[in-house]
């Protein structure tokens, strides 16, 4: 099968995701409102409680809003990753996942295309957020708007592949609420999104290690450093490793032979 055929397939999947994104305006706005509520309300109330000392990549004292912005960006991607996996569970129940899977093009390619399409949508959301966040004086150096892009791609891939793996493992659509409670909230709170890790270490050592090894922390920190045009090698390598693990598991989950697809009776 030639390169052009793969390319057409990839374009088709991305175009479909983009069209769905355009048609579902509510999804776009709710994706924006969520981090803005955190920024406008939570951060305003919390800034007086928590003093943030100078930690890399920041060079001066920063307001709390500035500290949590990268965490909120990662949250946009986390929700997007989970939502596109929600749409996969939904798609599969509605059967349109089946139409994709019966394409003669290899399944791993279809899944990765779908994943990249979701990342593309999440990046649009993040830039929209950054524009509005500038009203709160969250203004990184101009170069940060460009250097954040690679970090967004890789963290989007990691969170998207996590969602895809979960979508192959979730039995029914109803259980997705459980994923919100058992995946999204713990990942978000047990990370460096809302408070620096050294603060957590002061309180509880085991919680510190949970946060430290949480893949979401890697996403948050990669985004934080890249927003200031810096790179943190450890986090970057970690995120790539996590991406490969989740991607491998999700391709396994959708494998017709051993996958979880059959355990559900395929409906």
């Amino acid at each position: 099968m030639s390169f052009t055929i793969y390319l057409r397939c990839f374009n088709g999947i991305v175009l479909r995701e983009a069209l769905r994104f355009v048609h579902q305006k509510e999804r776009f706005f709710s994706a924006l409102v969520r981090p803005l509520v955190w920024l406008g309300i939570f951060a305003a109330g919390f800034r007086s409680v928590l003093g943030v000392s100078i930690i890399p990549p920041y060079e001066t004292y920063i307001p709390y809003e500035v500290y949590i912005a990268p965490g909120l960006i990662a949250m946009i991607q986390l929700f997007n990753g989970m939502q596109s996996s929600l749409s996969m569970v939904y798609d599969r129940e509605m059967g349109s996942m089946k139409t994709m899977l019966v394409s003669p093009i290899p399944r791993w390619f279809l899944l990765i295309s779908k994943l990249l399409a979701g990342v593309f949508v999440s990046i649009l959301q993040v830039y929209a957020f950054l524009v509005i966040a500038s009203l709160w004086d969250i203004i990184p150096p101009i170069s940060g708007y460009i250097t954040i892009l690679p970090a967004l791609i890789i963290s989007g891939l990691m969170l998207g592949s996590l969602g895809m793996f979960l979508s192959s493992a979730i039995k029914q659509l109803e259980n997705f609420a459980g994923v919100m409670n058992f995946v999204i909230f713990p990942m978000f709170f047990a990370s460096s999104a809302l408070y620096p890790l050294w603060k957590i270490e002061e309180t509880s050592e085991w919680l510190y290690y949970v946060c430290f090894y949480n893949p979401f922390t890697y996403a948050v920190e990669s985004i934080r450093f890249s927003l200031y045009s810096q790179i943190n090698i450890e986090y970057s390598i970690g995120i790539v490793i996590f991406t490969f693990i989740f991607l491998f598991l999700s391709i396994l989950g959708y494998d017709p032979g051993r996958g979880n697809l059959q355990k559900k009776g395929g409906k």
Binding site: L15, L19, K98
Partner: protein, 256 residues
């Protein structure tokens, strides 16, 4: 399918559109399919007749490689679904039991998406989509969102979609469920005409006995087993009944 086995040997493999041999499938302890064999040749309209839960959808999932078959073999125009899945899948068009169109996208956007999944170029896709959509008389609906179409129209779009990449084997899983009599008849006639004109092999799964016409091939399946198969007349004669409805009742009842 008793007679199926012999005909496999008599026919050159390339003449067989779909050849299923001794396929069994379990979900845990539940035996969904038990040594199913059947054979379809190009131009055959074959009805897979069975009640809900007989194993029809499982069989379709195996043919389309949503799951792997762990026993027996499935070949589409001589290509094994497991070992030559790319070639095998290229030949089939599928209409699933559940609706699978994107409701928020237009008819054309849905069909474009499907074309891209088969690697068809934009120009080529345009021609093919126009051709298929004209065949089902929905030209004026191309720009409309699928949500605004009726159930019967949506099904016709799904059939058109299944034909865009010019498959040689069309699989339909209970395509008329939930539709009114008019739409049912329209869709049934449409597919039967395609079958005759284009030498398309069709496997039509249903539990609606009145969709079977004289002279057609029927495979009766119940609890994962093929009870009988062949021409309607042959089955009626063999079971010593008056019509296929009675024959079906008799066959299925015996096994219950």
């Amino acid at each position: 399918m008793g007679c199926g086995h012999q005909s496999v040997n008599n026919f050159n493999m390339s003449t067989s559109a779909l050849s299923i041999k001794n396929v069994s499938h379990n979900f845990g302890d539940f035996k969904a399919l038990d040594k199913v064999s059947l054979e379809i040749r190009p131009g055959d309209f074959t009805v897979l007749l069975g009640l809900n839960g007989a194993g029809k959808t499982t069989l379709y999932s195996l043919i389309t490689r949503l799951y792997n078959n762990n026993s027996g073999s499935i070949e589409i125009y001589g290509n094994n679904v497991r070992s030559e899945s790319v070639k095998a899948l290229r030949h089939i068009g599928v209409v699933f039991q559940q609706p699978t169109l994107d409701l928020d996208l237009s008819v054309r956007e849905n069909l474009n998406y499907h074309s891209s999944l088969h690697g068809i170029s934009k120009l080529d896709a345009r021609k093919k989509i126009d051709k298929e959509i004209a065949r089902i008389n929905l030209n004026d609906q191309l720009k409309k969102k699928v949500r605004s179409l009726s159930g019967g129209q949506r099904r016709r779009v799904e059939i058109a979609r299944a034909l865009i990449h010019e498959p040689k084997l069309l699989l339909l899983d209970e395509p008329t469920v939930g539709l009114d009599i008019g739409s049912r008849q329209l869709i049934l006639n449409h597919v039967k005409t395609l079958c005759k004109k284009n030498k398309l092999a069709v496997l039509w799964a249903t539990h609606l006995i009145d969709e079977i016409d004289k002279g057609e091939k029927v495979v009766i399946i119940d609890k994962g087993k093929v009870l009988d198969s062949g021409n309607v007349e042959k089955i009626v004669k063999k079971t010593k009944t008056k019509n296929i409805r009675e024959a079906f009742n008799k066959l299925v009842d015996i096994k219950i």
